[in-house]
Amino acid sequence: MSRPAPFLWRDRRVALVVAGLALAFLAGTFSFEAVPLALMEGLGASEFPRLVGAVILLLAVMLALRPAPAEEEELPAVNGCGWATFAACLGFLAAMAVVGMLPAMFLFMVGVGWLWGERRVGVLLLSAGGVVLCLWLLFVRVFGLGLPGGMLGEMLFN
């Protein structure tokens, strides 16, 4: 769907965000520790980042000055499944802190698989179990990687 482009059309709003980030980046360079002149070796620690920040700011201004199109395509809204998947990723982090990485992965795969429309519970359990088992064999048994055990792992094994 499209509509007449407003003054602050999409790319201009993007340019404002980019300019804001560039200004924050530039401001950050003033918080660096001062360096004695003898150590500067051509450029100090802050000059190059300042140059990069200034270039980003300039590019943001150029983006903002681009002529607006007559009509602006509306961005497709992120649907419920998109938001739910993102929430599941955050939920995965929370679950990992409690039950550990591998069980959290299993729960994530079953949950998100269901969310994306897979209704065959057996297939979900089998694929999640198979993947987690392969990861455990490869990373824990073969590579000897220590994966986070979560609070549950701490309680059970320590």
Partner: protein, 500 residues
């Protein structure tokens, strides 16, 4: 010659040969999965390659890169879903051929053209990379600074919806490369007190987030309809008549692909699209295009595979990535403590020739796979997204966590997943950000060293370095060209209006 033979002998090592075969198989497999291309796979595999030798790691990644480019064409032809973006031009004619009942012939010519293009570009790479490295052997910091700048300016043409946005993304990549302790002064920059950031932002979580996770978030918002797999009885090797008809498009595609691939930042997708247009322009059978032209399959297929070898030339010889996928390979080398560039040809020639050998082998392996297992690989695209993408997520998590066993890297990966999604929604390509991140430290260090060398100020300093000056001139001309052309068109319009 000794190093070349030594490199070729690497394939006699069962482990390296096994890694090459496994890499090709995996590459074709993931290339056939829509959304998971070579870049995503290499980003996910990056942590795994740290544990093996640089030779085995490069052989594996080179094979994955070659295989993924070919794998994408199988689903492009049979399901009209390019597994890899570089196969999008193949879908235009390949699927039409499949609808006409010529799927076997389309896959046959695709396999043959891909192998010819791939082998042609590897031969060019074997000849050109050492020559380029020799030429670059005398490069000093000013030349490297100019080269890195040129590489970043080429990001303007890499994808997304505007060159300006690509340049912004590349500049953000350079900004990210400044995070961490400045090596010359020891000053902490943008670490905000987080210990994990003192060594800088790791490539692995950024790459996995931008490519794999952003794709998952993007896929989550789409309606998933599985493509219809068209009937395929047997893959047919093209006969002499068909081969003669396609010969010109194959050579055109191979030449264009190798050249475009060798330009920093431009990769297989651009090569394939340009080759499709040029094949149509020079074809004697223009009327067949849009109806299922065999030349329209051969040209882009030769181009997207030859771009692989082309992209490796600046990556290995200069340390400037030729595409986003080679940027990931470059990152893998850096993580392993190997700094690509002209010195590598003197210091570790066997490593380089092992890459060449593995890529040659990969091209031959996927020729066989393409001819005998295409039907099987086409079924891969039928894997339900509900099972595929959660698996990609868990692989991403373990990939980000693995190398440093740090949860900070997992959070960083999630952050860059969101950044990647925002990039896609607003017309930014993630590839320039990766290029900026990879080239950022080279840009800063070479600028610092250049300023130390120049006694009479930087303007006179650069004026005294003809190669650096030429590269800066090309960069400025390339960036200014669109504006100059627009101005010219406006002036021409005004003159015509006045004349009327």
């Amino acid at each position: 010659m000794e190093a070349f033979l030594g490199g070729m002998m690497v394939l006699a090592d069962p482990f390296i040969l096994g890694m090459t075969v496994a890499g090709t198989l995996l590459g074709v497999f993931v290339g056939a999965l829509p959304g998971i291309g070579g870049s995503t796979t290499l980003a996910l595999l990056l942590p795994l390659t740290i544990g093996i030798s640089p030779v085995a790691s490069l052989a594996f990644m080179g094979a994955v890169y070659c295989g993924a480019n070919f794998g994408g064409s199988i689903t492009a032809i049979l399901v009209n879903t390019p597994g890899d973006p570089s196969a999008s031009a193949t879908a235009l004619e390949g699927y039409k051929m499949a609808e006409k009942g010529e799927a076997g012939l389309a896959l046959g010519i695709s396999a043959v053209a891909s192998a010819i293009g791939g082998i042609f570009s590897v031969i060019v790479m074997i000849v050109a990379a050492p020559l380029l490295a020799r030429a670059a052997y005398n490069f000093g910091p000013p030349e490297y600074f100019a080269l890195a700048l040129f590489g970043l300016s080429m990001c303007a043409a890499v994808g997304g919806d505007s060159p300006l946005k690509n340049l912004i993304a590349a500049a953000f990549g350079v900004a990210l490369a400044t995070v961490g302790i400045d090596l010359t002064t020891g000053v902490e920059r943008f670490t905000f007190g987080f210990y994990d950031l003192t060594d800088g932002i790791g490539f692995v979580p950024v790459l996995i987030g931008l490519f794999a996770l952003a794709e998952m978030f993007d896929q989550a918002s789409r309606q998933h309809t599985l493509g219809k797999l068209l009937k395929l009885d047997t893959v047919r090797i093209p006969g002499m008549a068909e081969f003669r008809k396609c010969a010109r498009s194959i050579w055109l595609g191979s030449g264009l692909g190798t050249f475009i691939g060798a330009l920093p930042a431009l990769g297989a997708t651009t090569a394939a699209l340009v080759a499709y247009n040029e094949t149509r322009r020079w074809s004697k059978h223009k009327h067949e295009f849009g109806q299922g032209s065999i030349e329209g399959v051969a040209g882009p297929e030769a181009a997207n595979n030859s771009a692989v070898g082309g992209a490796m030339v600046p990556t290995l010889a200069l340390g400037i990535p030729g595409s986003s996928t080679t940027a990931i390979m470059l990152a893998a080398l850096v993580v392993q403590g190997v700094r690509p560039g002209p010195h590598l040809f003197n210091e570790q020639p066997t490593l380089l020739y092992a890459v060449f050998a593995s890529m040659l082998a990969a091209n031959l392996i996927y020729l066989v796979l393409g001819l005998y297992s295409a039907k099987l690989f086409a079924r891969i695209s039928m894997v339900p997204p509900a099972l595929l993408w959660p698996t990609v997520f868990v692989l991403s998590v373990i990939g980000a966590y693995g190398p440093n066993q740090s949860m900070g890297e997992v959070y960083l990966m999630l952050f860059f997943g969101v950044v990647g999604l925002l990039f896609r929604r607003h017309g930014f390509s993630p590839a320039p950000l990766v290029m900026g991140l990879v080239l950022g430290s080279l840009l800063e260090e070479s600028l610092k060293q250049s300023l130390l060398i120049f006694q009479d100020g930087w303007v006179l300093g650069f004026l005294g370095r003809p190669i650096a000056l030429l590269l800066i001139g090309i960069t400025v001309a390339g960036l200014a060209a669109p504006w100059i052309m627009r101005l010219q068109a406006r002036l021409r319009g005004a003159t015509e209006k006045r004349a009327a």
